[in-house]
């Protein structure tokens, strides 16, 4: 068992006194109004930004062994962030290429990952030949291909249309259920967060704080039919209420 938890106490203007434990295997959504520092928080989790106050650290692994500080992290940006001069395969191969000379095992891994995200048949396509949703799938494949301990998604579906978004939500759910990677998912959609998460943290407007933090007790696996359950509606209402309160509290 690998226990991955991180604790943050950051005092940047964007974020204020944030305490957050992430437990292994959970799907945590960070919900909040735009500009509340969700992205900043995610960047700190990834190690792309340093907190100006406080610290983040990895808790002890369950077997008593401290994980190396180089926890494998997969990161999906708001934009697909693909290299336009590379084919889909070469884009997904990037983490292996940086790590060293990719061999046939890595190439097979990339092909499998592309199949998993539903991009079989588009291995040799260039990003510009793909639709927005397919580019995002390629981006997710790249984040997952290293089999990360922690998958960070920064409003990945915000720019997509509703139909594509629902399809990607379902596929992301399916991928998560089969691997149980720890996920931190940033969104400003209440429904999306409730549909996907096992836990939701509501953030206030800038400076961002965690206003509410609760578990989503809904049956697994999640299906579209679940959206009609009264339990789903109740949780959505609760999160919306918390969100409204978080925004109202914020000093203007």
């Amino acid at each position: 068992m690998r226990g991955i938890g991180k604790r943050f106490r950051s005092g940047v203007e964007a974020l204020e006194r944030i305490d957050l434990d992430i437990t292994e295997g959970e799907f945590l959504s960070l919900v909040g109004p735009s500009g509340c520092g969700k992205t900043t928080l995610l960047r700190i989790i990834a190690g792309l930004a340093e907190p100006s106050e406080g610290e983040r650290h990895l808790t002890l692994a369950a077997d008593g062994r401290r994980r190396r500080s180089t926890t494998r992290v997969g990161y999906v940006f708001q934009d697909p962030t693909l290299m336009p001069w590379c084919t889909v395969t070469d884009n997904v191969l990037l983490p292996f290429r940086i790590a060293g000379r990719p061999g046939s095992a890595e190439r097979e891994r990339v092909a499998a990952e592309l199949r998993a995200v539903g991009l079989a048949g588009f291995e040799r396509a260039y990003p510009r030949q793909l639709s927005g949703g397919m580019r995002m799938r390629a981006s997710i494949a790249r984040a997952l291909v290293t089999d990360p301990d922690l998958l960070l998604l920064d409003e990945p579906f915000a720019a997509l249309d509703e139909i594509t978004r629902m399809a990607l939500n379902d596929d992301l759910m399916r991928l998560w259920e089969s691997r149980r990677t720890t996920v931190v998912f940033v969104t400003h959609s209440v429904f999306e967060s409730v549909y996907l998460s096992t836990r939701i943290a509501v953030m206030t407007a800038r400076p961002g704080r965690i206003a509410a933090d609760f578990r989503v007790e809904l049956p697994q696996p999640r299906e579209r039919a679940m959206r009609t359950l009264p339990g789903y509606a109740t949780i959505c209402a609760t999160v919306s209420e918390e969100l409204a309160r978080a925004i109202a509290q914020a000093p203007h």
Binding site: F77, T81, W85, C86, R97, A99
Partner: protein, 266 residues
């Protein structure tokens, strides 16, 4: 008719028609007014001169072309290398870029005599002159290109622990390629201009005579049709260089860059 088809055929037909009409007008004006050929020869006289002096002019063209292409190659290699150095070290860029600008804004006609005095070997002297004119667009463009790598991709490379060399090779150089090629297209024309200007200043300077000197010589002898013929060859060379570099750019970028994409098929 389909608007796209109109624009495509007109792209070729329209300039050709304008050219033919202008040439015909030119010939008519020269004949009707009886303008002597040493003041303004008609297109037919120029064509005739091109036919007679063609072989010797082509020989001169090769001399000029060699200087031009060598200068362009040197500009591409050194300009690209300088830009890479600039991208690796901000201090280097800050301290050296102003001098590149100074070199660029100083008229080549003014420094060419000095270079010809300093550099004994004539070919090399011409090469240096043409290079000075040609290298700046490549340095300036490539530097911008190397610095415009996508910030999120940069973050991703850092996340996966990429080294500076890897970031340069897999991210910055491909990002900079379209910028470099745009600079190269500008430099192609400039290298030719630089070579011609240097030849003007240098005179024959050796056993081989470039096209620019043939123009000067024809001017002194009032062999104006030959002057025009040489000028025509020079322009043609410039156009060919541009088209060749444009084609190179399309070949290298056609997979992915906006500038090289065909009409979007829906």
């Amino acid at each position: 008719m389909n608007p796209v088809r109109i624009s495509q055929s007109w792209q070729i037909v329209a300039p050709l028609a304008v050219g033919a009409v202008l040439l015909a007008l030119w010939e008519i004006v020269v004949r009707v007014n009886g303008i002597p050929p040493y003041i303004l020869p008609g297109p037919l006289a120029i064509a005739n001169s091109l036919w007679i002096d063609g072989p010797s002019l082509l020989g001169s063209l090769l001399v000029t072309l060699r200087v031009t292409l060598a200068a362009l190659a040197a500009a591409a290699i050194l300009g690209g290398a300088i830009a890479v150095l600039f991208s690796l070290s901000r201090i280097l860029e800050l301290s050296l870029f102003p001098y590149a600008v100074i070199l660029q804004v100083t008229p080549i006609v003014a420094i060419a005599p000095l270079i010809i005095i300093w550099v004994q070997e004539p070919f090399l002297a011409l090469l240096v002159c043409a290079w000075i004119v040609a290298f700046f667009p490549i340095v300036a463009n490539t530097t911008v290109g190397l610095n415009s790598a996508d910030r999120n991709l940069l973050a991703l490379f850092r996340l996966y622990g990429a080294s500076q060399v890897q970031i340069l090779r897999y991210l910055k150089l491909p990002t900079a390629l379209p910028y470099f090629l745009a600079g190269l297209r500008i430099s192609g024309g400039l290298a030719l201009i630089g070579a011609v200007v240097a030849e003007f200043v240098a005179g024959t300077g050796g056993t081989e005579t470039g096209l620019a000197f043939r123009i000067l010589e024809a001017g002194y002898r009032l062999a104006i049709p030959r002057l025009f013929a040489a000028l025509f060859l020079l322009s043609l060379t410039g156009i060919v260089i541009y088209l060749a570099l444009d084609a190179l750019s399309r070949i290298l970028l056609h997979h992915w860059h906006e500038s090289a994409l065909e009409e979007e098929e829906e």
